[in-house]
Amino acid sequence: MSTHSVADTANTASTTAARPRVEHKYAPEARRSRRINTGLGVLAWIIGIVFCLPALWMLLTSFHSEADAATNPPSLAASLTLDGYRTFFGDGGGASPWPPLLNSLMASLFSTVLVLLLALPAAYALSIRRVRKWTDVMFFFLSTKMLPVVAGLLPVYLFAKNVGMLDNIWLLVILYTSMNLPIAVWMMQSFLADVPVSIIEAAQVDGARLPTVLARVVAPVAAPGIAATSLICFIFSWNELLFARVLTGVRAETAPVYLMSVVTSQGLFLAQLCAASVIVSLPVLAAGFAAQDKLVQGLSLGAVK
């Protein structure tokens, strides 16, 4: 493979020398390929909009009145109102969505903090000051992520019932931490491995102690990665349904579980449901767009950079 690329590079160099004439000769073709390029750009725009249409429709419907939301054909130009949001936030005398939203926030935030506390030292021992057989340890972490959640659900339920932790937000915090820990270890390991060893050694030669090295040398390089890791852990915890559904009741109910209760069998609810979906999805959208650059790396468990 390497011999090929050498030859190819040589080839490139020789052709570049003769470039002006070549470009002139193929001018109509260049214009044609530019037109194809513009066409494909327009196509990408159209597909992007069509693909996003359901989400845009949800946003629009959330600002319609219930009557306008449930028409056929759809009323695109109906007047906008905040009624859906008002009803969702309990203006019509319904239940307040704040307890479940706060529960979700608590479960997601606390589990993310716990994940960081556990994953950062672990990643340090897997990247900067490596333990023996560190790749084996990495793959053990990863393999736990592949165990289907549903297989451990019943014992967790029985355990929680026996120790009286059902309907308790801290149980979710623990479970979400274990769900996100492997991802966080993998991501963090790849970010910490980016810190040049020579800088760390230079700092140590200069007499810097470990805390100083961590704060002054490692942290600045790894900070964006740590931030992205936290955002991704936050998203996964916020989205989780199965555990929340089985293990919580009235007190510790999370936002995704609550969202399902907006659907009623009496009367119209579509505008309110769309408003609720927008509100519940907002934190995830914000976190996702903030972490956009590192999203792939997180989702592929650090395998793709």
Binding site: R132, P256, L273
Partner: protein, 327 residues
């Protein structure tokens, strides 16, 4: 590949640790230092073993018991009979089939769509970043809200956008009574699959786009100057390069979608032949209180997942060692 020869480069980085010290020179202080190196790792390891491995061991044990929580006094050891039930019970067998079909369809279609979208985005045009954001949005909706959106705002036979849009479109041609199918009852599995494909295509697109952008630019340029057609370049340069990214997308997608609960639970509540294994297990223990049977089904899911996961781990490991060598 020339890279596979050398796994050695990772060793120098690990050299400062005690690992490479001569064995004879091992003293108590060396061992203490080894433990000091290991110490930061232990909390995470212990936590993970306790929370993820122990419950699974418990599942294995429970699966050997005949245990219905409505009659707890009748709990007794039943050997492998729960496993026999899993494979003979018609609804469980059907849900195995549904799981395979659902996972395969969603993964294959979203990989193909994701590939096309990635190819479209892998060129510069005006507003590329914005289009990328539009395409990622479905993936960033909370899964439950995406499923509810499809069920009520799109599929609803009376006022959903699909039927509404169709009625509006046909109205343009003067058709006053267009077909208004009830999407979820008429094609339940397809309805679930479509909603999932919509959410997972961006995931595949992101991974494949990362793969496309990691192609060595000079080789592509050389091929172009040598007169290779776009199709030839795709077939002989891009596709081989993307192979590992495709594998990764397919395997990670399979692992996530095999476990899917949200869409099935929300869209059809497992009815109309859409109950996959996670949903059926949830149903067996949460609604039917058959603890032993649910656990046996859980073990079966785990075994199925291990088969996929073994391949997944191999792919991740090959990408991983490549990264390690490049560094």
């Amino acid at each position: 590949m020339s890279t596979s020869v050398s796994t050695a480069p990772s060793a120098p980085a690990g050299a400062p640790g005690p690992a490479t010290a001569p064995k004879a020179a091992r003293t108590a202080s060396d061992r203490a230092r080894a433990w000091a190196t290991r110490a930061p790792l232990l909390p995470a390891l212990v936590f993970l073993v306790a929370v993820t491995q122990l419950p699974f061991v418990a599942t294995l044990v429970i699966s050997l018991f005949d245990w219905n929580s409505l009659s707890p006094d009748n709990r007794r050891f039943a050997g492998l009979s729960n496993y026999a039930s899993v494979f003979t019970d018609a609804s469980l067998r059907e849900s195995v089939f549904t799981t395979v079909l659902l996972t395969a369809t969603v993964v294959i279609v979203s990989v193909v769509l994701g590939m096309l979208l990635a190819l479209l985005l892998d060129r510069s045009f005006m507003g590329r970043g914005f289009v990328r954001t539009l395409l990622i949005t479905p993936f960033l909706l909370v899964p439950v809200s995406a499923a509810l959106l499809w069920k009520h705002a799109l599929y609803n036979p009376e006022y959903g956008l699909l039927n509404g849009g169709w009625a509006w479109f046909m109205g343009l041609f003067g058709v006053s009574e267009p077909a208004q199918p009830d999407w979820i009852s008429d094609m339940p599995l397809l309805a679930v699959e479509t909603a999932l494909i919509w959410q997972w295509t961006p995931f595949m697109m992101l991974i494949l786009l990362a793969g496309l952008q990691s192609r060595p630019a000079e080789i592509l340029e050389a091929a172009r100057l040598d007169g290779a057609s776009p199709w030839q370049m795709f077939r002989y340069l891009t596709l081989p390069h993307l192979r590992r990214y495709l594998e990764l997308g397919i395997l990670l997608g399979s692992i996530y979608i095999v476990q899917n609960f949200d869409a099935v639970f929300t869209l059809t509540a497992g009815g109309l032949g859409t109950a996959n294994l996670p949903y059926t297990i949830y149903q067996t223990f949460y609604k039917a209180y058959e603890y032993g049977l649910a656990s046996a089904a859980g073990v079966v899911v785990v075994i199925g997942t291990i088969v996929i996961a073994t391949f997944a781990l191999r792919v991740v490991s090959s990408l991983f060692s490549e990264e390690a060598n490049r560094a």
